[in-house]
Symmetry: C2
Subunit: 593 residues, 2 copies
């Protein structure tokens, strides 16, 4: 954590009567306020910019002078909508994107809050101030799914305590936007509370029509990043929302949505950009906000506008434009030295006044965090033996004439309901003769229920795998061999969360994700990339036909994307809003056996 | 005060399941978010906009439908920097500018606070919520002058209480910006407090160089309206300040500063506009923010940009863009129906959902306010008889060889020091043979001191006048005849503040200004215009050579404009920062006599 400059010190440096710590000389400052490129020097004192102009009075004996001749000096980039839990964790994500020029990240708190509750989350947020990046959070006001005991977890007084935290900039996306559309008092009141605190209200209105958006905006939502066409972006912009263009691993929508600027020629001051939680390899290959700027410019957006969309626009949206997003006195010294306006790969990244990266290499040591201290309880309250019973991994079935519902995958995350006839063996469905079918079991880590469903077009020769990497963070066990499935589940239990793949009773891949079952505890981003690649090739070798196994697993258990889903309530038809095969309550099942 | 719509109600109106109160149909909506002109309808419920689009589902039996065919629908205009004390008062100013389309005003609190202190001011602000306009305030953190017992009046805990008021949007201009430049702890800490509350820090950096501006911005100032050239505006914009272009009665600077846009072609999203407290006749003739938009467009600014500078830009600066400044659901229903984009004279003004003016005529009755309830004490704590002694109005002088300092007027508000030799009569300067000279006495209304000076080029045949309309609100008595001066001062005492002009012992003009000595208590703006005209012609008839007697009087007693000034400490040379003729302490003077 950088030491904070006082106003008095900054004034003196601006006056030239106190030497600067850093002085960047000879570069072209990207002035996002006026939209100009200007030959100017920048003086930095502790964590702040103190002076921008031609004077060299603040250069003292101890001042580190950086020669930026022929280079551009840009404000650090801002990611206004991050999900720092895609195998990577808040630390490994932060240091990776920092090395690429993203100096402020605004993190979704979902899984942290679900596993840490108010006290643990507040403590983590405070402790993470040691990170060499500017770190803000958005707090969910409802869960992604409405079956997690939401009214307990997300009681108004709990969420209000989160919103009051200094590092919490506002409310996080409400994925289940119909709650707002239908005037859910709980959601509405929390939004109103956030607004009273002067905080932002991040939206998520995927697929919402212009007409319906009116009601969502009336409910107080101030931004949305879910537009997938230029027209949807325009709808949001016109209705007063800060409109976030997304280019993520799951939704690489830029070529379409950027037409809002390149073809519709619309004013950009209320347009932002986000990577929206991409998988690790995507960041490794495409970058973070640097990649958004690069891609936008490649698609025809003027460099100044693209940089504004990554700096002053999100800063203004966040009501922090006096702190971040531009190069002016008093602002955080979050600065990039860029060799060109094509690649936007910073030669030097300065964050909070420290030179933190050079040519993409981190120069600071990421803090090692003991994550377990924040967790409200153990990963599993069931015993490992509970998961070792192969009978858990069979689909109860009594008559071959009764059709069985199947989750049929149409793409990485989209499924559709199907039903088929299956033979019966010992009271269970026999899938041994159906090479395209697998059994999936979502098992409560507190041992209260198990939800079962059959998958088609997910993989073929998968004996067993288990993964807490899904929206519920309960173990999701998938496969064709109950014994291998039991071994995979037991291994994930031993890991305290994570993924295991089992072939004929042998563990062939394991990925420990003890942080909420979603994240490594490793500070190395490369580890996350490696895990993702291992998992993807393991699954592709076993017949997985898509390219993003992480999002396939993540959303198989969600209740907000169309199709059939496996959720804690059972096998769920999202469109019909109906549980077509309820989860089995374990006490009953045990008694039955 | 309009009744506030709930989010639930707005959602229903947006959905078309609850009828709107107002429905504006067939107009062209000025969309300041996207920068487009769009054929759309607008539905209003209670004080808020509920829907913008093509659907007519919200039209019910009781809905008032306004036909806006062929007209433009604009967001109401915002005046981000008002001084509602120029003879007019907060009520008469508000209703006047409201009828012209300004639906939000951000008022400076200076004289109110000085005369009302925290309790009175807070009560007034609360009570003024009855006004049919959106009413915000900025709170001074130091006085305009540093001799008013500032450290008592402006103690940090007092100012902090003001800043915490919901209706206070931030700190008001710090006219004495060198305080910030020199790192005055008191000013710095208050600025920091305001920023911690998420409020804005309005600046005033007249004449401040680009280099010095660096230090002011480092101190936390977020805006300035004092640029008088395009270059000065650009300096401010580049350093991250929200840059306010001014066109006031005192400084009609638009033709110069607007070149920032029309010639330098700079991006306008952080540019605002202000009238900065013009005299009443100016508003009568030139309008308020409507006049700024009109003038900007006349000078070549695109209508969309000009309107944005009067709506969404100040709203965003104030961090209220989710409440005001644009036409979108959930925002205050502050809407103008404009016949064209040339005159910007609204045919209809809707404020907080009420139709408040039509063709410039107010349709609502302004509230009658008992202003005396807010004042912390009586206008004068001295007796009238105290002011009736003609000897008070003589300039002590002992030797004709000693030069006497003179305040020589060079323009409406600019003076320069001069010194002349004068004959002595009975221990006083004899000015009877100097037709260009007048005596001025600034008398403490608590009777502790009197400051005296001689004026040149102010007026010629003025026997006596008295005015509490000046930056100190103490009676300023000017003339060539001590008896007429005493009568004028006594009359102002009887009025409880105001202006009186006396010819040969006869009161020929009187203007009661019992509200802090600066303002009428009248709700009629026309009264203020009439008073101003009467005063100007009375003075011009007596040789006053300029056009703005209000600002001449106002700033004669200030200590922040160059030249010689008459301030409570005495005759003061601003540039030299030196009292060249101290005020006489009255106890001593009375003893001496």
């Amino acid at each position: 954590m950088e030491s904070r400059a006082t106003s008095y010190e900054l004034i003196e440096v601006a006056q030239g009567s106190r030497p600067a710590d850093l002085y960047i000389k000879g570069g072209t400052v990207i002035n996002v306020y006026s939209g100009e490129f200007m030959k100017q020097n920048v003086a930095v004192y502790r964590d702040r910019i103190a002076y921008v102009g031609g004077s060299e009075a603040a250069i003292g004996d101890q001042t580190q002078v950086i020669d930026a001749n022929g280079k551009y000096i840009s404000p650090g980039f801002i990611e206004p909508h991050a999900h720092p839990w895609v195998i990577y964790n808040p630390v490994s994500f932060a240091v990776k994107v920092l090395s690429l020029g993203t100096t402020t990240i605004v993190n979704d708190n979902l899984f942290f809050y679900l596993h840490m509750e108010v006290e643990g989350f507040a403590k983590m947020v405070r402790d993470l101030q040691v990170l060499p990046i500017n770190h803000l959070w958005l707090a969910r006001i409802v869960s992604q799914a409405d079956y997690v005991g939401e009214r307990d977890y997300f009681a108004p007084e709990q969420v209000q305590r989160l919103l009051e935290l200094e590092q919490v900039a506002g409310t996080a996306e409400v994925t289940r936007w119909p709650l707002l559309y239908n005037g859910d008092p709980f959601a509405i009141q929390t939004v109103e509370y956030a607004k009273r605190l002067g905080k932002v209200v991040d939206g998520h209105t995927a697929g919402c029509s212009y007409e319906k958006l009116n009601a969502i905006v009336a409910a107080g939502v101030s931004a949305c990043h879910e537009a997938i066409t230029a027209q949807e972006s325009l709808d949001r912009l016109r209705l007063g929302m800060w409109t976030t263009l997304r280019n993520s691993s799951l939704r690489p929508d830029f070529p379409e949505v950027v037409k809002l600027i390149t073809e519709a020629n619309i004013q950009t001051q209320r347009i932002l950009m986000t990577t929206d939680g991409p998988h690790p390899a995507y960041i490794e290959e495409e970058g973070c906000v640097d990649g958004l700027v690069r891609k936008a410019v490649e698609l025809g957006v003027a460099p100044m506008q693209a940089i504004q969309m990554a700096t002053i626009n999100p800063a203004t949206y966040l009501r922090l434009d006096d702190q971040i997003g531009g190069i002016a006195p008093g602002r955080r010294a979050d600065l990039l030295v860029l060799p060109d306006l094509v690649d936007f790969r910073p030669e030097l990244v300065i964050c909070g006044g420290r030179v933190v990266a050079e040519h993409g290499n981190l120069l600071v040591t990421p803090p090692s965090i003991d994550w377990s201290q924040y967790l409200a309880g153990p990963a599993f309250s069931i015993q490992k033996s509970f998961l070792q019973d192969p009978d858990l991994y069979r689909y109860p079935h009594t008559s071959p004439d009764e059709p069985v519902p199947v989750i049929h995958f149409r793409s990485t995350v989209i499924t559709q309901p199907k039903s088929i006839h299956l033979p019966v063996r010992d009271g269970f469905a026999d899938i041994s003769q159906q090479p395209g079918l697998l059994l999936a079991c979502l098992i409560d880590r507190h041992g209260r229920w198990v939800a079962r469903g059959l998958l088609e077009n997910f993989a073929t020769t998968l004996d067993g795998m288990a993964s807490t990497y899904n929206t519920t963070t309960h173990p999701l066990v998938i496969g064709r061999d109950p014994v291998s499935m039991a071994i995979a589940a037991a291994r994930v239990h031993e890991l305290g969360g994570g993924v295991a793949v089992v072939d004929r009773g042998e563990v062939v891949l394991e990925i420990p994700l003890p942080l909420t079952g979603m994240m490594t505890t490793d500070t190395s981003f490369a580890t996350a990339v490696e895990y993702q690649r291992q998992l993807l090739s393991a699954l592709q070798e076993r017949g997985y036909p898509y390219h993003d196994i992480l999002y396939t697993l993540l959303f198989l258990t969600c209740d907000f994307l169309p199709g059939l889903r496996l959720i804690p309530l059972g096998l769920y038809d999202v469109k019909a809003n109906r549980v077509i095969q309820p989860a089995v309550q374990m006490e009953r099942e045990r008694v039955r056996r």
